[in-house]
Every structure is written in C-alpha cells, then in structure tokens.
C-alpha cells in the first residue's frame, strides 16, 4: 500500500470523471479555487495498491495558532461533501473487494494525516459513501446528515403530481405572474442577498468571499450556474446550482427576498424542469436535517438519503469547533442589516 501526493491534474480529473463516486467538487480546478480562497493548503492524496490507484482523497490543512486542522471539504467553501473518490475499478468490484479497499483508504489516510498531528479532523462524506466502518475502526466519531433527492427521470406531470397540494396551487398562482428567470453571474449581488437572509437568523453566510463564487462560475460555466428570478424589476429569488454527471444539486441560495410572492417555489420548479430538459436524472435538495426547513423541502415529495461525517477532535479541536459555531458565526453577523422574510 502507498499514499502519495498527486500533482498530475489530468490523471486526477480523469479518475474523478470515470468514477461514479466522483463529484464536481472533486475536480482539480474546483479544489484549487477552494484552496486559494479558504486559506487552507490542499493535499491531493492518491492511495495505491501496487500500481493500482484505489482512491483519490483531497484533504485541506490549516494551522490556526497552535491548532492544526485537516478538513475535507474545507470550511468557508460551501462544499456540501467531499472525502475520497474511489476509483472506477473499485466501484465496479465485488462488495468484499470494495470493503477491503475502503479499509485500506481509511487506514492510509489516517496514518498519513497523523503525521501532521492534527487536533481537529473532519471529513464530510457524500451520500454514496455508506460504509464508514473503516473510519470507526480508526477511532473516528460519526454524525448522520440528511439530504433529499427528487427522481427527475420521470415525466414532469408525474413529478408535479407528487408535490404537496398547496405547493401545486402556489405554483399555479405564481405562473400567472410576470416572473422571469435569468441566468446571471453576479456573485457579489448573490452573496449580498443570501448574506442578509443569514443575518436575519443571526448567522453569517459561510462562504469565503463573493470572488470565490465568481471564480467557480467562470471556471465551470457548464456546471456551476446562477439564476435570479425577477418579478418586474425586483429580485424574487436567487439560486446557484451544480450540475454534473446527470445530477443537479440545488447548492446555495433560494433566499426569501421579501418580494411577497412564492418566488422560491417557482424558482425551484423552474430549475427542476430545466435540469430535466438538460438530461439530469436526479435533483438534490440539501439540508433535510434542518428541522426549520424540512417541511419546506419535503413538499416536493423527495426521497430521503443519509450521508455521514466522520471526525476526530482533541480538546483544543472541540473548543475551537464550539467557538466557531457559537461565537464566530454569530458575532460576525451582528450589525448586519435585517430584512423581513421567511425560510431559507
């Protein structure tokens, strides 16, 4: 077994593209942009068995004063999940072989990052990654997270029929309004609108900077798309989606802008139809574990899926995590302008 840093972007991207585990967030340029804007150092590991590449494992390293941290994905990148991408060969192999490869990957990455002596390690794994036993055996704790998927390979009428009755009525009413969906690339405006919605809840929008989002929009024009919904001259809803390998992820936004119309619902349904027209088979709506939002999201009649985060935290790491969620994210939001609105 061996683990080493991969410095060949072509090999990296080919592996991501070929593997069913590979996500847009795993692409080399995506990781490099995240590195540039989050202040973390990217360590793009490859894990081998002999000459066979078993897995890619991008991790991000950061040192804050005395605390060394290892993340995948990095904080402030808004990447919902990352972790390893098993190779296409592993994905096609028998469950027993997969199990053995997953074990190797967890053992190797744990040993390698152990050399950095981190006080905080956090890997948020994608929904496909259900077997977290190798991480547990390596001393990681696990937390369950939830997300929703809508099967959009079905005819639009069937998808619509699954929606909640009130939602169908709302969409019908919104359809009678002069609403216009425009593809845009105004990251500054987007972050301002979404940031205000976060501020209403006493939080900061956890994104490195608008420039980070702008770089992604420019680097991945076919995969990262931003839309504003206009009602007259007013913005009624905003959204940024990621599209890759037949799946569209409702990534960020959909902030209620106080326009007084059902812009979020109309926006989401418009994007779902667009995703379908562009050949996507699945539409992901994240954040099914958020008690405040599950009723908004479940009215689209999605399927629930679970994904897992695994972590190792020393005392210092625990204290830093507590401080981040309870002090930093909240105090930074103080003083931000408040607007009226509903759910985000």
């Amino acid at each position: 077994m061996a683990i080493s840093i991969i410095d060949d972007p072509a090999l990296w991207d080919r592996t991501v593209d070929e593997s069913p585990w590979g996500l847009l967030f795993h692409r080399w340029d995506f990781l490099k942009i995240a590195e540039r804007h989050t202040g973390c150092r990217l360590l793009p590991y490859g894990i081998y068995k002999g000459n066979q590449l078993l897995s890619l494992f991008p991790v991000f390293y950061r040192k804050d004063f005395v605390l060394r941290s290892v993340f995948s994905p990095p904080p402030q990148a808004c990447i919902p999940y990352l972790g390893p991408t098993m190779s296409a060969l592993t994905a096609a192999s028998k469950p027993g072989t997969q199990e053995s490869h997953l074990q190797t990957v967890a053992d190797e990455i744990t040993a390698e990052i152990g050399k950095l002596r981190p006080g905080y390690v956090y890997f948020q794994l994608p929904p496909l990654y259900n077997d977290i036993r190798p991480f547990k055996w390596n001393g990681y704790d696990e937390v369950s997270h939830f997300t929703y998927f809508i099967d959009i390979s079905r005819p639009p009428e069937e998808i619509l029929k699954g929606f909640d009755k009130n939602l169908r009525w709302t969409l019908k009413k919104a359809g009678e309004l002069p609403l216009e969906l425009r593809r845009v690339s105004d990251a500054e405006r987007f972050c301002d609108i979404v940031g205000k919605r976060y501020a209403e809840q006493g939080l900061t929008f956890p994104i490195a900077s608008p420039r980070y989002l702008q770089d992604l929009l420019e680097t991945f024009p076919d995969h990262v798309k931003m839309f504003f919904l206009y009602h007259g001259g007013e913005i009624a809803s905003v959204i940024t989606v990621c599209q890759y390998k037949g799946r569209m992820i409702y990534w960020m936004g959909n902030a209620k802008t106080g326009s007084g119309i059902a812009g979020n619902d109309f926006m989401l349904w418009s994007i779902i139809r667009m995703a379908k027209e562009e050949g996507c088979r699945e539409f992901e709506i994240q954040g099914a574990g958020d008690r405040r939002l599950w009723h908004f999201k479940s009215k689209y009649n999605p399927r629930l899926a679970t994904c897992y985060a695994v972590s190792k935290k020393g005392r210092l790491g625990r204290a830093a995590e507590w401080a981040y969620f309870n002090v930093r994210r909240r105090t930074r939001a103080r003083g931000a302008p408040a607007t009226t609105g509903g759910n985000t």
Binding site: G96, E99, R133, S144, D164, S298, A305
Partner: protein
Amino acid sequence: MTVRLIEDGAVWDRFLDETPYGSIFHRWRMLKIVEKYSDYKLLPYGVYRGAELICVFPLFFRAYRGMKLVFSRPPQSLLPYLGFVMGPTYPGLKQKRKEAYLSEVAAGITAEIRRLSPNFVTLQTEPCFEDIRPFLWQDYRADLSYDYYIDLGKPLEEIWAGFDSTCKKQIKHAGSLGLRMGLSDDVNEFYRIMGDNFKAKGRRSLYRVGDPAYLKEFLDAYPEHIKMYFLYEGEKVAGAHVVCEYRGKFTLWLGSASGHYNEYMLWELIKMEKAAGLKIFEIPGADARPVLPFKSKFNPGLELKFNVCRKDALGTVAEWTFANIVKAWI
C-alpha cells in the same frame, strides 16, 4: 395522536401481519418470552392517529438500584434488532406525510419515555429504516451499525461465483467429508457448543450464564419461523445455527461451527433457503472488525441500522460499568 399500551396480543400481531415492516422479533410471543426471561417489563406501546394504529413500539423498562433503563431491544436478549414498526399505510405516503407521521410517533413515544424519567434510553431501528431525524431533534444521539445480507434472488451460480476462492475451497473440502445437516431441538447441546466455542477463543459469553429454556421457548413458539440446525460429523455435532425464516427473509441468528465447517453450513443453508423461495439471506453483525474476514468472504451487501440513545450522567456511568465490568464478568 395518542399513545397507549396495547394489551391484546392479537391486535399487535394483526398490525404486524398487515405492515411490510417488522420482524419475527417484534411478534407478541417473542416479546413476552424476552420479558419472562429478563428483569425488564415489556411496555408494548401503540401510536394512534384517530382510530388508526400507525405504529407499534415495544419498549423494555427496568428500575434497578436507583437507575431507570429503557431499551428496545433489551441487552442480553440475543435479539439482533427491535425498535418501532410503522404501519401499512406509511410506505405509500408522500414524503411530507411520512415525516408528519414519524414526527408524531417520535413526539408521542419520547413523551411516554420522559414520564418514566429514565437515566438511559437506547432504541434501535430495523435495518434500512433511515429516518431518525425526529429522534435527533428530541436530543437523542445516533450510532450507526451494520448487518450483511446476500440477495437470494440471484442465480445460485452467481452467488457461488461471488464467494472468495478460499471460501469455495473450504466448502468443497467440507462437502467431501460426508457431513450431514439436520434439524434439532436440543438447546442444551446448543448452549454447550456455543459456550465451548467462545471459551476456545478466549471469550466470555452469555451462553455460560443463560438459561437454555429461553431458546427452547422461541423454538416452540414459532416452529415455522425459528429453527435450529445441527451439523453432524459422524455422531459428533460439529456446528449449530439457530435461524429465522420470516416473510421471505432468512436471518442467520445464533450459532457457529468448529473449524471451517461454518462456510459449508452457510452454503448449505443458502441453497436450502433459496430453494424454499426466500429472497434475502441476512447475516447480522457486520460491525466488529474480527468477524469481517469470515463474513465478507461470502461477498455480502451491507444494510444499515441506527441506535438512538439518550443518557444522563448516571446513565453514562451505568453504560461504562456494563461495557467494562459486567460484560467482562459474564
């Protein structure tokens, strides 16, 4: 929504007959046998929406030396899983309604549990039931655990082809020794074999202190569903397994065999259950790293289940004591 204890075993079992969820371990007599042989009181809760019974939730309660404990499944009961069972209408509901039903169940049951003011609560879900969010929002924490399964819907040749080469050799070798498999009800012999096997591995087990009559009652209560197979090498019993067959699912529940006869026994059971029309061959317990080399050589898939748990300081101490002292003593 109302939550009340169900006293009529027929109502309980009829609900289980109608819903696609639930296992043999949820059946009324199973639960009563567990209660009889443990120090726990069975609290068979039903959750109603109007007149409709939407969920059954078997809890086991014990007050012991100032501690109050609630389990579903109770420790040392040998049951692989228990937890709540949603009703027949649940799978056909839209997601929003499913969530509403589940929220009501979690709210109702956790309110009942609060009335018992326990120091330690642990509840389990059935394999593949993922939605534990309403419990997490009631300040329970969740741990994930795994079982293995083999899809018996595949052709036998395909199942065989999935086994690793060593496993195939061991089965072929055992097959040439004239071993014989048969049903048995000799629970004393089963406990002796299991106790000896654990002892040979330097491990302590429940079989040293447990009452074989406990297992006998299961066998007698559900002869169609719970069976005990012995593997004979000449006149000597070389292996034993207690298995469940319930609603197209086979569960390799308890047992082991000496040497490499386990592989042979499993293969014989797979062939037998496939021929009998069962669809899933379940091998509980895929969490412990030491058992992996044995279980994973059959190329099984993984299924997930959750333990949701809540404990106060006293409960935390009790859990530690059980895991580190009581279990070691047994």
